[in-house]
């Protein structure tokens, strides 16, 4: 859990949000929660609460899953959010992820290596069917998030990739 914001932080944040274009905002850090709305639509949903609970960090809620909206909220200045954290390459299907074409062989790619959109980075086996997985975007693989031969779900991040490198 992040350090608690000071009262001044809260005031600053509200001032900042007020200058923003957000229709509504919801911020929760530990015990501190702030919700603002410029329209009546405001905060309808128990769901929203659910999500905040489920996702540990800070979330400014705009009614639907908001992924990237999250980051700069608390921070004062805070630059380039999404790219800084790194894009991910996500599993296009459920199955078992292999980084090598066969046991004992060298991995398709290693962290630090540059890939193109069509570079194979691994294989997903689903019920004995092997499916090559390509990077889908050009960049430098920064890390693998899944161990060789681990099961993965659909949409699960397999690796991080720096697309601006």
């Amino acid at each position: 859990m992040a350090e608690q914001p000071s009262w001044q932080d809260v005031l600053d944040l509200i001032a900042q949000l007020n200058e923003s274009d957000y229709e509504s905002a919801s911020v929760q850090v530990g015990d501190v929660s702030i919700r603002l709305s410029k329209s009546d639509a405001g905060f309808d949903m128990p769901e929203a609460a659910g999500r905040v609970g489920a996702q540990p960090r800070i979330e400014t809620g705009f009614d639907t899953p908001m992924a990237s909206a999250t980051q700069p909220t608390t921070g004062a200045a805070a630059a380039a959010p999404a790219a800084a954290l790194g894009d991910t390459i996500d599993a296009p299907m459920i199955g078992v992820f292999y980084r090598r074409p066969s046991p004992g062989a060298a991995p398709f790619v290693e962290p630090g290596q540059r890939v193109e959109a069509d570079t194979t980075i691994g294989i997903i086996e689903i019920m004995k069917l092997m499916n090559p997985i390509v990077a889908g975007k050009a960049g430098v693989i920064t890390d693998f998030l899944v161990t060789d031969a681990d099961p993965v779900e659909f949409g699960q991040p397999l690796a991080t990739i720096n697309t601006s490198a």
Binding site: D44, M45, A48, G50, I126, M127, P151, E153, F154, G155
Partner: protein, 454 residues
């Protein structure tokens, strides 16, 4: 709880909730195989674990046997419950699971095949001595009287090579048949290049009555009464009830005996439904098909007889005693289920999706709600429109209709158009209150209402 068997729930919505509840009842651990759209759904929260099997559209997730099988392997599942729809009657998933040594909550794949095709199902029924619809090909359109008498009136003349409703004529007596058969043959030649004709008995005012069976897989059957599902719009069931009202003892026995015979012939395993057409203008009862799965309307049977069919399915699949009682042909209660769909009954039942902003259910004795929806739930556009099933039980049918009427009046669902107004209308209609309406009843009655309003 660590060695609780894992049940993979390969479905969504209300039936996923239902299977999760049954798994919990038998002390198993439910794991949900979900599409991305459903990964944070109420059913996902109710399960012990969620495995995301694919993208939101059903054909990229719930309809992919290998993805579901993979999830079952990853979950360490002892059994997979497919619910209804999706892969529930597909031998493909069933067989993939068999290879992995994972139990399938449903009949054997050969049973799915045997009843999955109209032609082979009809043959199974004939083998079991179950009455099927009379039909015969015409050799010579000028010699038809005997054939017509053999089938009975009214009947349909169908061009064998016709389709989509074209080339079909309704005939109510032998004179018409003699007159129309040659004409129909000539027209069929002109229209389809082939004059071959088929005669089939026509039931314009028949009811849809079905029998709930549960087979032990060795040929023995439990029969849990019958259901009437005749309130239909374009073959979609809207309201179901148990028992079917106004069946004579003889007819009921024929339906139940026929169903028992089918279970025996098929060595049917688990829960299934035998659907029949029950004519209101003759004594005819005709086999339609076997639904080799749990059905949407199973709760009316559960409430009427006081059993848990889904728990019984799971127990049987796990090799345990399904713990079902032997019951009489008529239950000690009357139960009605109303399907609440996200459809606008005043706009041709057009489906809609979106946020449920307010939700209030009626409470009290005899009321059961099977649903996944809750306040704040975003009803997704990807799947079918069933939001909830409102099930009402009372000591007899009149009381059940009254209770259902009150229950419908006391549902509030804001944010979406629903079929509730349709239910209120049907429940108040004298024909429905009298009981025993045919499947052809709803369409024109609802149209007439619309016209009376404008």
């Amino acid at each position: 709880m660590t060695d609780a068997p894992v049940i993979l729930v390969a479905n969504r919505g209300e039936i996923a909730m239902r299977i999760i509840a049954a798994a919990r009842r038998i002390g198993a651990s439910p794991v949900l195989a979900a599409s991305v759209a459903d990964k944070d759904s109420p059913a996902a929260r109710a399960a012990d674990r969620v495995i995301v099997i694919g993208a939101s559209p059903a054909n990229q997730s719930y309809l992919k046997p290998e993805q579901v099988a993979q999830a079952a392997v990853m979950a360490g599942a002892a059994a997979v419950h497919p619910g209804y729809g999706f892969l529930s009657e597909q031998p493909a998933l069933c067989e993939l699971l068999e290879e992995e040594g994972i139990a399938w909550v449903g009949p054997r794949p050969e049973t799915l095949r045997a009843v999955g095709d109209k032609g082979s199902a009809r043959q199974v029924a004939i083998d079991a001595g179950v009455p099927v619809g009379a039909g015969v090909e015409i050799d010579d359109p000028t010699i038809v009287v005997a054939l017509g008498d053999q089938i009975g009136y009214p009947l349909l003349i169908k061009a064998i090579h016709g389709g989509g409703g074209r080339g079909i004529r309704l005939v109510t007596n032998p004179e018409e048949l003699v007159e129309l058969a040659p004409q129909a043959a000539a027209e069929a030649v002109a229209a389809f290049g082939n004059g071959a004709l088929y005669l089939e008995r026509y039931y314009g005012r028949a009811r849809h009555v079905e029998v709930q069976v549960f087979g032990d897989g060795e040929g023995n059957a439990w029969i849990f009464g019958d259901r009437d599902c005749s309130v239909q719009r374009r073959h979609q069931k809207l309201i179901e009830e148990c028992p079917a009202p106004g069946l004579s003892e003889k007819r009921r026995q024929l339906l139940h005996d026929s169903s028992r015979a089918l279970v025996k012939v098929l060595r049917y395993r688990g829960a299934g439904t035998v659907e029949f057409l029950v004519d209101t203008e003759s004594e005819d009862v005709i086999f339609l098909e076997v639904n080799a799965r749990i059905q949407v309307e199973h709760p009316v049977t559960e409430e009427a007889f006081g059993v848990d069919l889904v728990a019984a399915q799971l127990l049987l699949a796990l090799g345990r005693d399904p713990q079902l009682p032997d019951v009489g042909p008529v239950p000690p209660a009357a139960v009605i289920e109303m399907r609440i769909n996200a459809e606008d009954p005043n706009a041709d039942f057009q489906p809609n999706s979106g946020d449920i902003t307010r939700l209030v259910w009626p409470k009290g004795p005899g009321i059961r709600i099977d649903t996944q929806i809750e306040e704040g739930y975003r009803f997704p556009p990807f799947y079918d429109s069933l939001m909830a099933k409102l099930i009402v039980r009372a000591h007899n049918r009149d009381a059940a209709v009254a209770a259902a009427t009150a229950a419908v009046r006391n549902v509030t669902i804001d944010g979406l158009k629903t079929t509730l107004p349709m239910h209120a209308y049907v429940l108040a209609h004298p024909d429905f209150i009298a009981g025993g309406i045919p499947t052809s009843w709803f369409g024109p009655v609802w149209e007439a209402r619309k016209e009376s309003l404008t």
